[in-house]
Amino acid sequence: MSRIRLEDAFAPVPEIVHARVENTLKEIEDMKTPVRGKPRAGLLIAAIVLLALMGIAYASSQLGLLDSLLSYTHNEPSEALMESIVPVNVSETLGGVKITVTDVAYDGDGFALGYTCENLEPGTLALVFYEGTEANGVPLVNWEWGFDWVPNVFQWPMTAEGMAPRPLKPINPITGYRVSTFPEDPGNNGKWTVNVSFVVKRAKSTPIVVDPDEYIAMSNNWAWDSETNSLTGSAVDDYAARLTRIREWGIQVAEGDERDPEMWEERGYTVLTSGGMYYKKGFTNGYGQDYYTEGDTLDSYALMGNARDENAPRSPLEAVGRVTLTFEFDAAAAMALVETYEPDLVFPLDTANVRINRVVLSPLATMVEMDIEPLGDDWSEEAVNKLDFAANYELTDGDGNPLEDQGWGMAAPYGEIVRTDVVPLDEARTRWVIRCTFRGPGLYERPEAIRIVMNDRTRKMLTTSPSGESVFTPEQEEAFQRRMEKFNETVIIPLP
């Protein structure tokens, strides 16, 4: 390789990048107390994927769906939220693992499912993979991705100050929940037969728990079978986190490459079994639920063509089998507490109009369905595609106060656009709009109005160099600023 100058494959750092780096450093300089921006939309509901069920029994309360939901919305349940959760309590046991669907809730869009997994064989280890849910044959999917990868979640209590410490103990039973949607109405007038599937695997060998008080751990790193395809666990930067911090988050498990145990140990893994299973503590990044890359694992399993009930070569796991829990659910009745309004309001922005079609207040979520319409007469698909609408939304009350100031948990004010589609309004396909749905957490108290603030910090910073001069031509700058104006607009939707 020495004869090839690899650096020649890259241009010098372009001004646009250098300017952003300098601006970012300036932003840091300006931060008296650095505070992370809003958690990434779309990742609020993403969390830990692999459920590790340690065989050593430890007492743990069975929290169920209600508490799981509260962990990412607010701290106290509203009466409506409590009422909207429908108990199910259907269990199946396979391979010494008892899986229970505890409760569900539905608001016409989101379907929340709570479940627990309990290892009935102390001293052994099992992994449970959530596989999927369907109602009347319609599979549950994640809003944005179009397929169901929203991972299982360890329950963790959240306080207004952040996360509460967890004991350094394996959790058994463990509680998971998922909130996703159906791509189409499962039909049958809301009378649904729901099937929830899990795959159970067990370790081939007896686990040995090594649990130092403190050590430096790679907090997110996994790979298996490096000879074929290594699973790259993307991401996590806090590899230097102390176990004392990591221990707050339960246990996470990875299938390791058996051939190089020293490597795992060298890198700070806690080796919990003698049979090639390498375990690490679960983690969080300390900034809320904005970085849960474990979602990639199951996703990658699927992408690699390995069904989840099959084992990778030399895997220390054995597939025990698949469990499907079935129950009947009355979706129509579950929606009794959902309020829906169709205000048909239109708010003019600089480059588009925003039409509010529908506002839905449910115990689970606050939803605003809106159309972004072009200005002028050209409503062609092409014209609509030129409208940039990649903003995040912050939920505030009617007076513009962020809802987090009203005693909500840290994640509460944040919502996300869960669907964005360019759709025709007429059969002739001459008039198009961008149709999107904002979905935020359910409101603890019913507001008098919903205020949506549109902004986009990242893109705005693109416009200036360190000296404050634009990196664009005047025409480009003008066009850019024009586009940016709408991100600082607010719309207020009064509620009856």
Partner: protein, 158 residues
């Protein structure tokens, strides 16, 4: 780590970070986004960096993570580039053929190759940055070199 040390560290490895991001993302505008987010993220978590000597690798890892995050987000959002951003022309590299050959490599080969031969990271450091076993990194480096060699030979022949 104080702000000045942090800023110096970022500036020192800016070119490395850009190349890493550019090896994963399709445009300089995306690279700028990724670097910004990564720098902010690193600053907020700077207390977790136990060994200041590993600052470059630590920050590179965060950049890699951010790029992957962006790639995932890009899958679920339509590409709606603003006209101004799209209009920013990107400077061609000195050797566009080499760039093309590199771009043609799958990312899993391209990144270790760059990190090792361009940025000077050792196998163990790359394993840390990319969250891979050392054995995998070694194998990918070997494979990357073979593939790049083949690609460049084909280019010369063509």
């Amino acid at each position: 780590m104080d702000e000045a040390t942090f800023a110096d560290g970022v500036r020192r490895c800016e070119a490395k970070l850009y190349r890493t991001a550019r090896a994963m993302l399709r445009s300089d505008a995306d690279c700028a986004d990724a670097l910004q987010e990564a720098i902010l993220r690193a600053w907020q978590r700077r207390e977790r960096l136990r060994d200041a000597d590993r600052f470059d690798a630590w920050l590179t890892r965060i950049v890699v993570n951010e790029c992957r995050d962006m790639m995932r987000r890009a899958k679920r959002q339509p590409a709606l580039l603003g006209e101004a951003e799209a209009a920013v022309r990107e400077t061609p590299p000195p050797d566009p053929g080499l760039r093309d050959a590199l771009v043609a490599l799958p990312e899993k080969y391209r990144l270790p190759l760059m990190l090792h031969h361009l940025d000077g990271y050792g196998v163990e450091e790359i394993a840390g940055i990319l969250a891979l076993p050392k054995t995998t990194v070694k194998w990918r480096l070997y494979e990357a070199r073979q593939r790049l060699k083949t690609a460049l030979a084909e280019e010369v022949e063509a």
